[in-house]
């Protein structure tokens, strides 16, 4: 079957997986458009890695369908232009870094000139370790090698599962640059990361998983759309606080949904004897939003 052109990079429909009695993934559907960077967020055990593994044919789903770059996931050719950095990244310790890349290029069935392969190692900062055995690499270096493996066969879709878990701050910045350059080259990326700041900075869209289900998804603007107003107040009477309802309070700081007329609110507060020290509009961070979403069902979390 020929690949459907113009199809999304990833199309996942109603994916489910059960390990013995525990439901790991429960009817997850999403798409990643070509050239789009999708961030996958969620607490530990939310099913993020399981979704990725089912997408890539490593784990057999109990139900659901996967299409990668226009081909059904059951066809190995759907992975011809896919690069993957697993959460558990290990490479043949008896091979050199360059040999690992050569192996992956060969398995991908593409021809990549020596020069390009070495550039790829250079891109992740391993240019001078090309002929060293992987067995002697630190965890961080192995993760960098993993990135090179994911990128070496000219992918159109790159799946990165916690790509910075073993990297120092410098390495994380490198990965961020790398992600931005991938986006520029119209390579689709699925990024699973605990580092919300990382996701916020590079992702076009975010998918939040919780207990195996999609808890929320959308562009950053859609998810963070709710704007707020932060006020620092003292001498707040009951009558004045009724004006602010509903609000969140921490010390003398109040956070409310952004009202249409901020000066009017401030005038009303002052009229009721409230002393206003500061007023600033704010936008929820992705982290706050994520916690909001996950705490929406607190009784189900232990």
């Amino acid at each position: 079957m020929e690949a459907v052109t113009g199809s999304p990079a990833v199309w996942v429909s109603h994916l489910s997986k059960r390990y013995r009695k525990r439901v790991a993934v429960d009817g997850v559907s999403f798409t990643v458009a070509r050239g789009e960077v999708l961030g996958l967020l969620g607490p530990n055990g939310a099913g993020k890695t399981s979704v990725i593994k089912m997408m890539l044919g490593l784990v057999r789903p109990d139900a659901g369908e996967v299409m990668l770059l226009g081909r059904p996931g059951t066809d190995p050719r759907s992975r011809e232009k896919v690069g993957y950095l697993p959460e558990l990244f290990r490479y043949q310790p008896w091979l050199t870094a360059d040999e690992v890349l050569t192996l992956h290029v060969r398995l991908a069935g593409v021809t990549v000139p020596d020069r390009e392969r070495r550039d790829c190692l250079g891109l992740v900062g391993l240019a001078d370790r090309a002929t060293d055995r992987v067995g002697g690499f630190s965890k961080g270096m192995q993760q960098r090698l993993g990135l090179a493996v994911a990128l070496v066969a000219r992918p159109e879709l790159v799946v990165l599962d916690e790509p910075t878990s073993a990297l120092d701050p410098l390495g994380r910045a490198d990965v961020r640059d790398l992600l931005l350059s991938l986006r520029q080259r119209q390579v689709a990326v699925l990024l699973n990361s605990h580092l919300i700041g990382e996701v916020e900075r590079v992702c076009d869209r975010v998918l939040i998983l919780d207990r195996g289900r999609v808890a929320a998804s959308g562009t950053l603007a859609e998810l963070l759309g709710r704007r707020t107003l932060r006020l620092r107040l003292s001498d707040v009477s009951d009558e004045a606080s009724a004006l602010l309802e509903p609000y969140e309070k921490a010390g003398d700081r109040y956070t409310v949904a952004l009202p249409e007329d901020v000066p009017a609110l401030v005038a009303d507060l002052v009229k009721r004897g409230v002393r206003v020290h500061a007023v600033e509009p704010a936008r929820a961070t992705l982290e706050e939003r994520l916690l909001d979403i996950l705490r929406a069902h607190p009784e189900e979390h232990r």
Partner: protein, 279 residues
């Protein structure tokens, strides 16, 4: 293409891991010991007739070949485990299996690589031993090529079983179980010979059944038969039945076919097991 890539990768792994060095040391030790042993036979019993030299030579040759087949079996079984179960456990398999390849291709590639490695080892160690025996007691086995092929077959059968276990259980356990079964069938074979010697058909049946279930012992007996002097059997005649290091008859084509089918069947099962496994 994929199969060949994996096969070369497996050979490279075998040559770069410590397993090869340990195998080499063990083999050199065994060969040195046997060279010393053979030279003692010649020195202590200087007045051996040519017939007696043949008896001693072929019996001890079989003993030593059993040693090297054991080394080959241990070596490949302990390579087969880590190369599937170990890679799944460590995560090496994750990045590899997401390439546009099928799992059976990987398994077949590994199998080919391991068979090539095991056969290479058996050939090198076997030929070295033949040369030693020839130089010390002047004995040369009647069918060296057939014998070595059967030994390679024995190694292939065992490592296929190791691969099957490796798709289901941990790397160490798969090696241990495979080698344990190998030992068990050998002992069952000995028990069977005792049964034949005592004329007890039900005990003799033990050897026959175990040789069907796991053909390593059967193939080993075929190899022994190819290494020992045919006139020896004629001399001894029917007075003596099979012993662990003496085989009365060459293998039948039916048994060889069964051994090949058995190996393919186990390989097929291993591929099926690997296919269904969540990585």
């Amino acid at each position: 293409m994929t199969v060949l890539t994996i096969a070369t990768l497996t050979l490279r792994e075998a040559s770069r891991r410590r397993v090869l060095r340990s195998l080499a040391v063990l083999t050199v030790l065994l060969l040195a010991l046997s060279a010393w042993g053979f030279s003692r036979i010649d020195a202590e019993f200087g007045g051996l007739t040519s017939g007696e030299a043949k008896v001693a030579g072929s019996t001890v040759l079989n003993l030593v070949m059993f040693g090297s087949s054991l080394i080959a079996a241990l070596g490949t079984a302990f390579l087969a485990g880590p190369s599937v179960a170990g890679e799944v456990e460590s995560g090496i398999a994750l990045a590899m299996m997401t390439r546009p390849i099928r799992r059976w291709q990987v398994l077949l590639g590994k199998w080919l690589g391991l068979v090539a490695f095991g056969s290479g080892f058996v050939t090198v160690a076997g030929v070295a031993e033949f040369v030693i025996v020839h130089l010390t007691v002047g004995y040369w086995p009647p069918h060296p090529v057939t014998g070595l092929l059967l030994l390679a077959g024995q190694t292939a059968a065992l490592l296929t079983l190791g691969l099957l276990f490796a798709t289901a259980i941990s790397p160490m356990a798969s090696g241990i179980v495979a080698v344990g079964l190998f030992g068990a069938t050998w002992i069952a074979g000995v028990v069977g010979s005792v049964g034949e010697a005592l004329g007890n058909p039900s005990v003799a049946q033990v050897g026959v059944v175990s040789r069907m279930l796991l053909p390593t012992d059967g193939l080993w007996r075929g190899a022994m038969n190819a290494f020992q002097d045919p006139s020896l059997l004629a001399q001894i005649g029917t007075g003596v039945e099979e012993s662990p290091f003496l085989s009365m008859a060459p293998l039948t084509p039916a048994y060889l076919t069964w051994a090949a089918i058995w190996t393919l069947l186990v390989l097929g099962l291993a591929a099926l097991g690997f296919q269904r496994r969540d990585l």
